[in-house]
């Protein structure tokens, strides 16, 4: 029975009955592990010796000159092993997989970051790994496909529907319905049926826990605003969570505005969507009047998703967090600016948060401190960026 798993009217479980047993098993395993000192110690040791935690904070002084004089601090999740925040979640879920006695993991991936992280965790812990990836994304993110294969994972291109992240999740769920007895679905974001939104948040909240202490040590106070990009929303929840009780700290999620929310070609689910059910959870969804999911559009494969985690829907509705859309062009301008002012190539996903910081900094003025989750590095995006900026390869 579901005893938890709702965020206001959002969340819950909308899944075939075949999966209920596995979700209940996972829920029980997660709650037990969260209270088990041995599990907590094992994960902490992995983070210290394998992930490279705690991740550092870098003050972006030259970048901040373009943001109205505000101070800008970057939480460097891009320096984690595998190059993004995604490793936090997969190491936790891989340990749970072993505890449940399962031998095989499946995962979906959009940009490839979660797929690479899943393949990495599987290699480390001796698990079989199959990654579902939209055919369109295997083309956009060919480098990450090769990385997953080098790590021993099988990558299955998904040719149904829009051939992107949404359809990769559909295919992963079909695999899970069929093979649930020996397979764990390592969902990569804070969406999906309960317990995923809660569990994935719990594995990422270390980002905000560290950053809150680091900001207090660095500046003697809490930041005025915390910013993160939002696709499914895992890196954003990870950094927001510790600051939710701090009512004076603004929490700002930057969604993918694509060509502009007004054009209909975007992936800004909260800004431009409406409440509905997708992939097992009730949240905001990009949908038409018949409840059919509408295809999303973004230059960033990792944000190109027509759903969003239910906790974000809730934080939006109660007014605790705000969500804005950043268009492709604004994100790419911020991408280039960070490269040239700080010597850091961010993921295009992350560039949406950076673009948001340029606006928010100007709105808040020169005395503001902004904390940004630099959720991933941009090595995987070099080809996309080169095409965008007309750099010959």
């Amino acid at each position: 029975m579901i005893t938890e798993g709702h965020f206001g009217e959002y969340g819950g479980r909308f899944v075939p009955e075949a999966l209920i047993g596995a979700l209940e098993e996972l829920e029980a395993a997660h709650y037990a592990a969260q209270k088990d000192p041995a599990f907590i110690a094992e994960l902490a040791e992995l983070h210290r010796t394998y992930t490279g935690r705690p991740s550092i904070i870098t003050e972006a002084k030259r970048f901040a000159e373009h943001a109205g004089g505000a101070r800008i601090f970057l939480k460097r999740e891009d320096l984690n092993h595998t190059g993004s925040h995604k490793i936090n979640n997969v190491l936790g879920q891989a340990l749970l997989t072993k505890r449940m006695g399962k031998k095989r993991i499946i995962a979906e991936t959009g940009a490839g970051q979660h797929g690479v992280a899943s393949a990495t965790a599987a290699a480390l812990m001796g698990l079989d790994c199959v990654v579902y990836m939209g055919e369109e994304d295997t083309r956009r993110q060919a480098l990450n496909v090769a990385r997953m294969k080098l790590l021993g994972a099988q990558v299955v291109p998904v040719t149904s529907g829009s051939k992107t992240l949404k359809d990769a999740i559909n295919e992963a769920m079909r695999d899970w319905v069929t093979n649930v007895a020996d397979t764990h679905y390592m969902l990569g974001t804070v969406a999906g049926p309960h317990p995923f939104p809660t569990m994935v948040r719990d594995f990422h909240k270390i980002i905000g826990d560290e950053a809150r202490e680091q900001m207090l040590a660095l500046t003697g106070k809490l930041p005025d605003a915390v910013l993160a990009c939002v696709g499914g929303g895992s890196n954003a929840i990870g950094i927001f969570n510790a600051f939710i009780p701090d009512a004076d700290v603004r929490l700002i999620g930057l969604e993918a505005g694509g060509d502009g929310v007004e054009t209909g070609r975007h992936a800004a689910t909260i800004t431009g969507g409406s409440p509905g059910v997708l992939h097992g959870t009730r949240s905001y969804v990009l949908q038409d009047k018949n409840g059919q999911t509408v295809e999303s559009h973004s230059i960033s494969a990792g944000l190109d998703y027509p759903g969003v985690g239910p906790e974000h829907a809730y934080l939006h509705d109660i007014g605790r967090a705000e969500y804005r859309a950043i268009n492709d062009d604004a994100a790419m301008a911020a991408f280039e600016l960070l490269c040239k002012t700080e010597g850091i190539i961010p993921a295009i996903e992350t560039a949406h948060a950076l673009a948001g910081a340029l606006d928010i900094g100007k709105e808040l003025g020169p005395h503001a401190n902004l904390l940004i989750n630099l959720s991933g590095r941009g090595d995987k995006d070099v080809q996309t960026a080169a095409e965008y900026f007309g750099i010959p390869l």
């Binding site: 029975m1 579901i2 819950g12 479980r13 909308f14 047993g21 079909r174 509905g276 949908q287 018949n290």
Partner: protein, 266 residues
């Protein structure tokens, strides 16, 4: 009492299983769907499930996904689903709708249930609606007098079977195996085990679906189940046929074979 309740009582009195066919609204076309429904009813089908196609059908294999794509590209909307439902119920068979939750929620839960009743429908099968999320739906189906039909799976534990079947009306939809829709060469032994477990918790009729495509399979299921559900096998015939008429002839022949199968199991 719905038409579906009456049909399930009738087949029980005849000591046989019901034959239940699935076809998505708007497939192979709006007009073709209406023709297919009439052909199936003429061939001896006892009940018809009209699919309301959905963009993200996680319980469906490639055959039904393809049919749903064709239907959605043809612009199928809720009104087309209700029209197909009316065609089916007008033939005298029991007619239900099968769809994922979001199209129902988007249309309006109470309005959807009432539209089912208004078009002669007996109930709705909701494969991704869990009983925990069902309060509004159960209230709406009661108000409109239709059957809420839930799916149970081989992995559903006994205690949960009690909870799910307590909310169910018409029949319990027993998934024969762990997996998505699509034809299989054999029906898994998990089907008979699941039906036996469901029998211990409810007196409702139990229909088995997933993977059924032949008279032999229908016969073996009819030995212990109250209904046999066939979907992908009909759709594959319509997809593969060189012409619409050839497709209709093919599903007619298969339905007649299956109708024999559900009568020879006991």
């Amino acid at each position: 009492m719905t038409q579906l309740d009456a049909v399930m009582a009738k087949v029980r009195a005849e000591n046989r299983a019901a034959l239940i066919a699935y076809i998505p609204a708007g497939f192979p076309s709006q007009d073709g769907c209406a023709k297919a429904i009439k052909v199936l009813a003429d061939a001896g089908v006892d009940a018809i499930e009209i699919g309301f196609p959905y963009s993200d059908p996680v319980m469906d294999g490639p055959v039904i996904q393809e049919a749903a794509d064709i239907s959605l590209k043809g612009g199928t909307q809720a009104a087309d689903v209700f029209a197909a439902l009316k065609v089916a119920s007008d033939t005298g068979v029991a007619a239900v709708v099968m769809t994922y939750w979001n199209p129902i929620a988007r249309y309006g839960v109470e309005k959807f249930a009432q539209s089912i009743a208004d078009n002669g429908g007996s109930g709705v099968i909701t494969p991704d609606l869990t009983i925990e999320e069902s309060d509004e739906w159960i209230a709406a189906t009661k108000k409109s007098g239709i059957n809420p039909i839930y799916v149970v799976a081989p992995s559903t534990k006994d205690e949960r079977l009690k909870g799910v079947t307590a909310k169910t009306g018409g029949f319990v939809y027993a998934a024969s195996m762990m997996g998505v829709t699509g034809t299989r060469s054999t029906v898994a032994s998990s089907a008979s085990e699941l039906v036996a477990r469901v029998r211990t918790v409810t007196d409702l009729p139990i229909s088995v679906g997933l993977g059924v495509s032949t008279r032999e399979q229908a016969k073996s299921l009819a030995a212990y189940a109250d209904g046999v559900i066939v979907g992908s096998a009909f759709i594959k015939l319509l997809l593969d046929a060189p012409s619409e008429q050839a497709g209709l002839d093919a599903i007619s022949n298969l339905a007649k074979e299956l109708a024999l199968g559900v009568r020879e199991g006991r």
